[in-house]
Amino acid sequence: MDYAPARWHRSERKLAEAGEPFAYTPENQAKFDENVKRYPTDQRKSAILYALYLVQQQQGYITGAGMRHVAQQIGCSAADVEDVVSYYTMFYTKPVGKYVLNVCRTLSCALLGAERVTEQLGAKLGIKPGQTTADGVFTLIEVECLGACDRAPVVMVNDDWHERLAPEQCGKFVDEIRAKGRAAFSGCHLHVEKGKAG
């Protein structure tokens, strides 16, 4: 085996693309102005994660222009914003598909077949983890523990959850998302109220 291939070199720093000029829609501006009130008036920076989520909701991913806009809103430098964006895994700096399949790969899910779920989803979609399908519908990502280990293997699709996805069901699962959209997801089991929850 190759001991230190280039893909392990972690110091590559890629700047986010500058992107189109960006500004919040009036609704998002109102949401931000409301959220920032939760923090002391001299601590606007606490709202930075919320501000970035709004950018991501509005344009799908976070561009350099989006970061500059957040910097203006918060009153900090654009470098401060990039510092935060590049740290947290839930912010995308590249376009992603309409459905982002986040497969949990950590121990409890892996014990029940998460590795094979990734494999099957990748085979069905013809992509590797980290890639997006050519039609821009699906992105496949492997993520670390999602905190629902009792319902392994778990897949988070955008903000929705799908639990107990057996490797054999993966092909059907993808077809169902294409056909039914969000209705294909099982959601979190706790939403289903039946008898005593385990």
């Binding site: 001991y3 392990w8 510092d83 947290y88 409890s108 983890p129 629902a148």
Partner: protein, 436 residues
């Protein structure tokens, strides 16, 4: 005497997350009313007397933590609730917040009153979007009904509870990293001292408590510390939530007293009901992925902080991961090191670089391309992380390697001798995807 669940008594019932349900069925907000009729210091004394220990992982006495919060200061004080539940194998706070959010809100309000804070932030992990919706709605309900806000119940006490959404960082579960993240920075730990009790959020005195810890506060105020002490073994009182996952028939969150043994939790009818597909038990990680592995001979240990520690591991966050005999321990260490390597915040070199090298070494051994000297190298790298980092993450990252090497060294050697993985279980990938 049968154990009656306290925190999760109603979680399976319809609309258990609504305020009406909480008031009608669970003596909702009675604890807060009772607390507001007493002096703040009395509440701290009661929590101290109850011996409540932090449920997030360290097991530090909560009352003591509150007592350390600086009193004589003109600065505001804060409660930061740690709902960044990311420890692999742990999902108890998930259940509590989703099915019983008002208990947490009441716990936050009482804690604020006890330490003299006016604001509590609930730092919830970004992935729990469905939980966030429920929590936000519950907070709105509580404000409208006057359980939060200005001059609660005419007592003159003001309290605000806000939710703060994280964005995917395991490290944000460390208390100073959580504070950094709340301040809008990267979630990286601070140098201690000063501890958060002196200079925490915005450099003000702050108490950082886990969700389950705060949820235990209202019942303590309502039922008294003696009741709480009586529920468990000495110094390990109160109800405890256990998250059981892995190769068991009925994984889930179970509430029990800390008298309950690991064997009961795995095989008990009211708990996980035994091994999946009748397979043989091999090992258990009793407290989330950061703690040493226990074996069959330890299963009769009561699952309390002190007993588990005596057995050579830690109760941690009580995330029990059960493994059957199809699990390759080299693969297990590799899987967990992939996690730690990815989640290391990168502040301290031993953890950032060491985790990466441990993962590479494990990958080499797992692929059957290792050499005998790699075993010593693994020990060497792991031991050079332990105790050399700002937070406990470094120790946690080295633990899976050290514990598997100590208990299952023969599996590492077999991999190296045979030049392949000796236990390629059917649930593993046919074509493993390498580091990316």
């Amino acid at each position: 005497m049968a154990f009656e669940p306290v925190l999760t008594n109603h979680v399976g019932e319809k609309l258990s997350y609504t305020l009406d349900f909480y008031i009608a069925k669970a003596r909702g907000y009675e604890g807060l009313r009772k607390a507001l009729s007493q002096k703040p210091n009395d509440i701290i004394e009661q929590v101290k007397a109850s011996g409540l220990r932090g449920r997030g992982g360290a097991g530090f006495p909560t009352g003591l933590k509150w007592q350390f919060v600086l009193k004589d200061t003109p600065k505001p004080k804060y409660i930061a609730c740690n709902a960044d539940e990311s420890e692999p194998g742990t999902f108890k706070d998930h259940v509590l917040m989703e099915r019983n959010p008002h208990l947490l809100i009441e716990g936050c309000a009482i804690s604020c009153y006890a330490i003299g804070a006016k604001v509590a932030y609930i730092y919830i992990r970004g992935e729990f979007y469905h939980v966030q919706e429920i929590l936000e709605r519950a907070i709105d309900e509580a404000y409208k009904a006057g359980h939060l806000g200005k001059n609660i119940y005419g007592s003159g006490f003001d309290c605000d509870v806000y939710m703060h959404r994280g964005a995917g960082a395991y490290e944000a579960g460390e208390e100073t990293a959580l504070i950094e993240s709340l301040e809008g920075k990267r979630a990286q730990p601070r140098i201690k001292p000063p501890f958060p009790a002196v200079a925490g959020l915005y450099q003000c005195p702050t108490a950082v408590n886990n969700v389950e810890t705060l949820c235990n506060v209202p019942p303590i105020v309502l039922n008294g510390p003696e009741w709480f002490v009586g529920l468990g073994p000495e110094k390990n009182g109160g109800p405890k939530l256990y998250c059981i996952s892995g190769h068991v028939k009925r994984p889930g969150v179970y509430e029990a007293s800390m008298h309950t043994t690991l064997r009961e939790l795995i095989y008990g009818d009211q708990f996980a009901q035994g091994m999946l597909d009748g397979r043989k038990f091999k090992a258990i990680i009793p407290g989330g992925s950061s703690v040493p592995i226990l074996l069959d001979q330890h299963l009769d240990t009561p699952a309390s902080f002190d007993h588990i520690q005596k057995a050579g591991s830690l109760l941690g966050s009580a995330g029990l991961i059960v493994m059957d005999d199809s699990v390759c321990m080299v693969w297990l260490a590799m899987n967990l090191l992939h996690f730690y390597r990815h989640e290391s915040c990168g502040k301290c070199t031993p953890c950032r670089e060491g985790g990466d090298w441990l993962y590479k070494l494990l990958m080499r051994v797992e692929a059957g391309e290792g050499q005998m000297k790699d075993i010593d190298l693994l020990f060497g790298v792991a031991n050079n992380i332990v105790g050399k980092t700002l937070c406990a993450f470094g120790d946690a990252a080295a633990t899976p390697v050290l514990t598997t090497l100590n208990l299952f060294r023969h599996e590492f050697e077999a991999h190296i001798k045979e030049g392949r993985c000796t236990l390629p279980a059917p649930w593993r990938a046919q074509h493993p995807v390498m580091a990316h």
